[in-house]
């Protein structure tokens, strides 16, 4: 793993630890606010809860996205692909805030509406990447695999998925970064996350809190991008 890939993660960790000590700095930057540092929950708690939201939404999104992507590329399933694309495209066309707003009456306040929105958003890049990657497996390789006597399951697991793995991992990376950014919106519905200081700052007219929440959310997205990028590269480069 190259050190450059770790840099965003280190920056994020440093910001997480340093921010609680920065009361004086924020006081100087925003002299008009009475309480320059967000202290209702510790930033580490917010970050962990945020990461929890991301993970909890990413796993189902990966399962649905990869599953639909595989289903859509099976022979005689062209319609599945069209329907899946339309469905998930629609889910992404609706803004996250709207999904959350619609979800609140159905599933209540808290983490649930945020999770619902996140799953909707993270599924599309995974689905697109999976279907796209599987479609690029050369037809003569598939012909050879079937001709060698592989069952459809063996063709999928021994040939198609290994060949499609790098783009699928790239899709997961996009989904993860998207989920980190979108999870902050979950604070609107009362989910505890790095968006909480942002919402609290907006409601109370405290720009310092908004900056603190936004800074950590942004750095977390960078950290996830860097870590997953470093993870994806050796996988794609290594011969089996």
């Amino acid at each position: 793993m190259r050190p450059a890939a770790l840099l965003p993660a280190v920056l994020f960790a440093a910001a997480l630890l340093a921010l609680p000590l920065g009361g004086a700095t924020f006081g100087a930057l925003f002299p008009e606010v009475a309480e320059p540092l967000y202290r209702r929950e510790p930033f580490t708690t917010l970050a962990l809860s945020h990461a929890g939201l991301v993970l909890a939404s990413l796993l189902p999104a990966a399962a649905i996205g990869i599953g639909l992507g595989i289903a859509a590329t099976r022979p005689g399933a062209r319609e599945v692909r069209a329907v899946a694309d339309a469905l998930v495209g629609f889910a992404q066309a609706v803004p996250p805030v709207a999904v959350i707003a619609i979800a609140v009456p159905a599933v209540g306040f808290g983490a649930a509406p945020a999770l619902l929105a996140l799953v909707c958003y993270a599924t599309l890049p995974v689905l697109r990447a999976t279907a796209g990657a599987l479609a690029t497996v050369p037809p003569e390789v598939l012909d050879a695999a079937r001709g060698a006597g592989m069952t459809p399951r063996q063709v999928l697991f021994r040939v198609e998925l290994p060949l499609a793995a790098p783009p699928i991992l790239a899709g997961l990376r996009v989904a993860a970064v998207l989920a980190v950014a979108t999870a902050a919106v979950g604070a609107v519905a009362g989910a505890t996350c790095l968006g909480t200081p942002i919402i609290a700052g907006l409601v109370n007219g405290n720009p310092a809190w908004v900056v603190q929440g936004a800074l950590l959310t942004g750095l977390m997205a960078f950290a996830v991008d860097g870590l997953l990028g470093a993870l994806a590269r050796p996988v794609s480069a290594s011969p089996p």
Binding site: P138, E140, V141, D143, R146, M150, L163, P239
Partner: protein, 310 residues
């Protein structure tokens, strides 16, 4: 033995096979020759059930291929395709061992078989075993493709335009390689091509197809001498009928005793064809050529007029 019985197949409105009847004898090197759209690839791919017939049936050693689950059937049929289709994420050894692995062979036996096949295809095992397909030339990759098809010692070998993507020199080398492998293994081979020269140089049985039907089947020489259909004549003639006929004749079969062969005459190997003999005469501007055996001793003489008996 492979037997096609009144096989029909349509893809949408396009009729690929229109009642194909064909028998490929055991041990034959059978070539399906035809233009594009003749239905030859469709016919080939029905033998290992990559395509299922709409009507009729395909029998392998007397047994309907549909009677067996397709994966099991395919594991005992070698399959070589034009695009080569090596698994790009697997090493050469893993590619060759694909079918044995599916059959559950022990790892040690697979390793030994891979060595054996690389040697058979004249590739140094130590140098090629661990290479990835991207590190091979087209000719090397197709040799690996052939080795992979032979790995589990299949009853028959199906080859779909196997040398179509190769340059002329490599193609010829691999054609000779296949003729040698056929002679050495005695396997039944069914090869599809649109290349007349390739068909004539490889086939022990030649089947010419057009519009999803069989036009004529027989020994290549029979088809050249007595084409049953204008389309067969048109395809095989190509302005080179005489040369093609010469290429099918062993020079030794039209040779006379050499006596004291003049040293000035060109010399060619006794295994050469009549066409090789003519070529040697034209090159040397001589009216005869001396055949020599492996030891270099004269084994016969072919004069220009002997070629007329070919």
């Amino acid at each position: 033995m492979i037997r096609f019985e009144r096989v029909r197949k349509s893809f949408g409105a396009a009729r690929a096979l229109d009642g194909l009847d064909l028998v490929v004898p055991e041990g034959a090197f059978a070539v399906l020759l035809g233009g594009s759209g003749a239905g030859k690839s469709t016919a080939l791919r029905m033998v290992n059930r990559l395509i299922e017939p709409d009507a009729g049936r395909v029998l392998l050693r007397g047994r309907d291929v549909a009677a067996e689950p397709a994966p099991a059937l395919r594991r005992r049929i070698g399959y070589v395709i034009q695009g080569i289709g090596l698994f790009p994420h697997w090493s050469v050894a893993r590619n060759i061992g694909a079918v044995p692995r599916l059959l559950g062979w022990e790892e040690r036996r697979i390793t030994a078989r891979v060595e054996e096949l690389l040697t058979l295809l004249r590739l140094d095992p130590a140098a090629y075993r661990d290479r990835m397909p991207a590190e091979l030339s087209g000719g090397q990759a197709q040799r690996i493709g052939v080795a992979r098809a032979l790995a589990a010692d299949p009853d028959i070998l199906l080859m779909d335009e196997p040398f179509g993507a190769l340059d002329a020199v490599t193609r010829q080398a691999l054609q000779q390689e296949m003729a040698r492998l056929h002679a050495a293994t005695g396997k039944t081979i069914l090869l599809v091509t649109h290349d007349v020269e390739e068909a004539l140089s490889l086939a022990t049985r030649l089947a010419v197809m057009a519009d999803g039907r069989l036009l004529q089947e027989g020994a290549p020489r029979e088809l050249l001498d007595a084409p049953a259909d204008p389309r067969v004549r048109g395809l095989l003639d190509g302005g080179a009928l005489g040369m093609r006929r010469l290429a099918l004749v062993a020079a030794a079969s039209i040779a006379r005793a050499s006596g004291e062969a003049p040293a000035s005459l060109p010399r060619i190997a006794a295994a050469a064809t009549g066409r090789d003999a003519l070529e040697a005469m034209l090159v040397a501007r001589a009216e005869a050529v001396v055949l020599v055996d492996e030891g270099g001793a004269p084994a016969g003489l072919v004069a220009l007029r002997d070629l007329l008996r070919a």
